[in-house]
């Protein structure tokens, strides 16, 4: 009996201990990264949610207040202003920079003279620090002797405080961010264009289709997954991009250029109100999670695991 049983038992036991060893090895390999990921991503997410339900008294005691902070947030005009601003910021930057990126990619993908130079010119802003970009663009928007006002001067127009006027400040920042981001998105379109078969273009031109028609009916639809991918990354970016506000506007004038993350930074580190900052962060986390759900629900089909 035992003689019969051993041959079938040993491989099974060996397989089981093999699996156990695999798991131990894998978790040991994961451990260093896991510790840091938990410490600086997962734990902070949970702690943010918890802190949004408490307030810290002057003596350091935490008091549970439930949804009170959320109620206060609902009545905070600056929060709503930041949220609306973030919406306009996204709407102002994303479609334009994506359209520009696509045009740039089509141009630099073609055998155009000076293609290398064009690619370089479009992409360069991408590698610059946002803080340096803000410094440079600050000059363009400076009243009276900035580049824009010098241009206005040529037409006999007076100086304008571009960043100091609530009606123009957001537009100015949007233009600057489009300049910074379009070249980055171009890269993804360029990669996608290079994967398209040249036969399609050829066939279309043999059929006598115009270039615009070919682009509109063949190229653009084929690039749709890239457009979605770029759009989602752009939306995430529009919630994270606040460096320039520190230098250019500090959210002003009159909160006309405050974005959500900048408001969180201000509440936490200027006004020292970390529990309200936690409440605001929960809103940002919810927005990012919503985008994540769209991304994985919609775009995962594009990711091919080998």
């Amino acid at each position: 009996m035992t003689n019969l049983a051993t041959p079938s038992l040993i491989p099974e036991r060996r397989a089981r201990s093999q699996a156990w060893w695999n798991a131990v090895n894998a978790w040991l390999l994961l451990l260093p990264a896991a510790v840091l990921l938990v410490a600086f991503t997962h734990w902070p997410i949970l702690a943010t949610i918890r802190h949004s339900l408490f307030i810290t008294k002057r003596n350091g005691n935490e008091v549970f207040v439930g949804a009170d902070s959320y109620q206060a947030m609902g009545g905070d005009p600056i929060f709503w202003k930041a949220l609306v601003n973030n919406f306009w910021f996204a709407l102002g930057t994303i479609p334009t920079s994506i359209a520009l990126a696509l045009i740039m990619a089509v141009w630099v993908n073609r055998n155009m003279r000076g293609r290398g130079f064009l690619r370089l010119a479009y992409f360069t802003p991408t590698v610059l620090p946002m803080i340096a970009v803000a410094n440079i663009w600050l000059f363009f928007y400076t009243p009276d002797y900035g580049a824009l006002d010098q241009l206005r001067g040529l037409f006999g127009l007076g100086g304008w405080n571009w960043l100091g006027d609530p009606s123009t400040v957001m537009g100015c920042l949007i233009v600057m961010v489009i300049w910074k981001e379009a070249g980055f998105f171009m890269i993804f379109y360029l990669a996608a264009l290079q994967q398209l078969s040249p036969d399609l273009d050829e066939a279309a031109s043999i059929e006598g289709a115009s270039r615009w028609y070919t682009f509109r009916r063949i190229t653009f639809p084929l690039l749709m997954p890239t457009t979605l991918f770029v759009a989602i990354n752009a939306v995430i970016n529009s919630f994270k991009l606040v460096d320039h506000l520190v230098i250019m506007t500090k959210g002003g004038p009159n909160n006309a250029s405050t974005l959500l993350l900048y408001y969180i930074y201000e509440v936490a580190f200027t006004f020292q109100d970390s529990s309200y900052a936690a409440t605001l962060t929960v809103v940002l986390l919810m927005l990012l999670s919503a985008i994540a759900l769209i991304k994985f629900g919609y775009l995962d089909r594009r990711i091919h695991y080998q």
């Binding site: 894998a26 600086f40 141009w107 360069t124 610059l128 919630f239 936490a268 970390s274 994540a292």
Partner: protein, 269 residues
């Protein structure tokens, strides 16, 4: 007909390129001319390096450079080691909970440490690391992006090579070091370029956790330097701005193709 549209498009492409380069050209113009010419463009304006000398004297830029280089190196080294180990676990080991663990890693692609500044500040303060370079680096050391990128690369390593190494008696770590890492070199270069440029440019988090010259990277140093209340003139600010961008800009001009390709490789995830 096609010839004409091509020509029109070429002109438009060049025009856009010139507009795109104009802000940079301005920065260089202003940095390389005396303050009197900072806002008036005249071909007869004399060239000078004095703005750089003055910027260099007015703020400890040498220290900022050193801090930034140390910071970027520290982050990259940490990311490479941690991502390699984690990616290897995900790519080559079957274990219970690997799916959930991987999803928890990917979460960081959406919710980056940049968003969690308040709680991360609390953690760094608790560790007693405020105003140090490791404080800037720590939240970024485990990179979901790096883990994902390397996992994809490791999965494409031929199983025969791994088997051959195993037959020769190599353990898991030796196989990782001898087989996987060398084959993934292009991915390491791509990830390295993206990581270095990201952290060279990063601003908000370093601004929050540093407040002394000893820990400040270039970007924060530049922001402190360029604040209007310091009363520094435009030419000197643009000189400092150029100094902050220069290393990456030069690297980019030298390794343009690698940069573009690594952004391409890194972007398609």
């Amino acid at each position: 007909m096609r010839g004409r549209t091509y020509a029109a498009e070429a002109i438009a492409a060049w025009l856009l390129a010139l507009i795109w380069l104009a802000p940079l050209a301005y920065a260089f113009w202003s940095a390389l001319h005396p303050a009197a010419y900072a806002t008036s463009f005249s071909l007869s304006a004399p060239w000078t390096l004095e703005n750089f000398a003055r910027a260099w004297k007015q703020a400890p830029f040498a220290r900022y450079y050193l801090n930034t280089v140390v910071l970027v190196t520290l982050i990259l080294f940490g990311q490479l080691v941690l991502s390699t180990l984690a990616a290897y676990a995900f790519a080559r080991f079957k274990f219970k909970g690997s799916g959930i663990a991987f999803a928890l890693v990917l979460l960081q692609l959406m919710i980056m440490p940049d968003v969690l500044i308040v709680e991360n500040y609390r953690a760094i303060a608790m560790l007693g690391l405020l105003d140090t370079i490791p404080a800037i680096a720590l939240p970024y050391m485990a990179s979901a992006f790096g883990i994902f990128l390397l996992r994809q690369t490791f999965k494409s390593v031929p199983q025969e090579l791994v088997e051959a190494a195993r037959v020769e008696g190599a353990g898991p770590l030796v196989i990782l070091w001898r087989v996987y890492v060398p084959l993934a070199r292009p991915t390491y270069v791509a990830f390295g370029l993206v990581s270095v440029s990201y952290h060279w440019n990063n601003f908000l988090w370093p601004l929050i956790v540093t407040n002394s010259v000893e820990a400040r990277p270039l970007t924060v140093g530049l922001a402190v330097f360029g604040a209007p209340e310091t009363g520094v003139d435009w030419s000197v600010i643009t000189a400092a701005t150029v100094m902050t961008m220069a290393p990456l800009l030069i690297a980019f001009l030298l390794f343009q193709r690698q940069f573009v390709q690594s952004f391409m490789r890194a972007g398609i995830r």
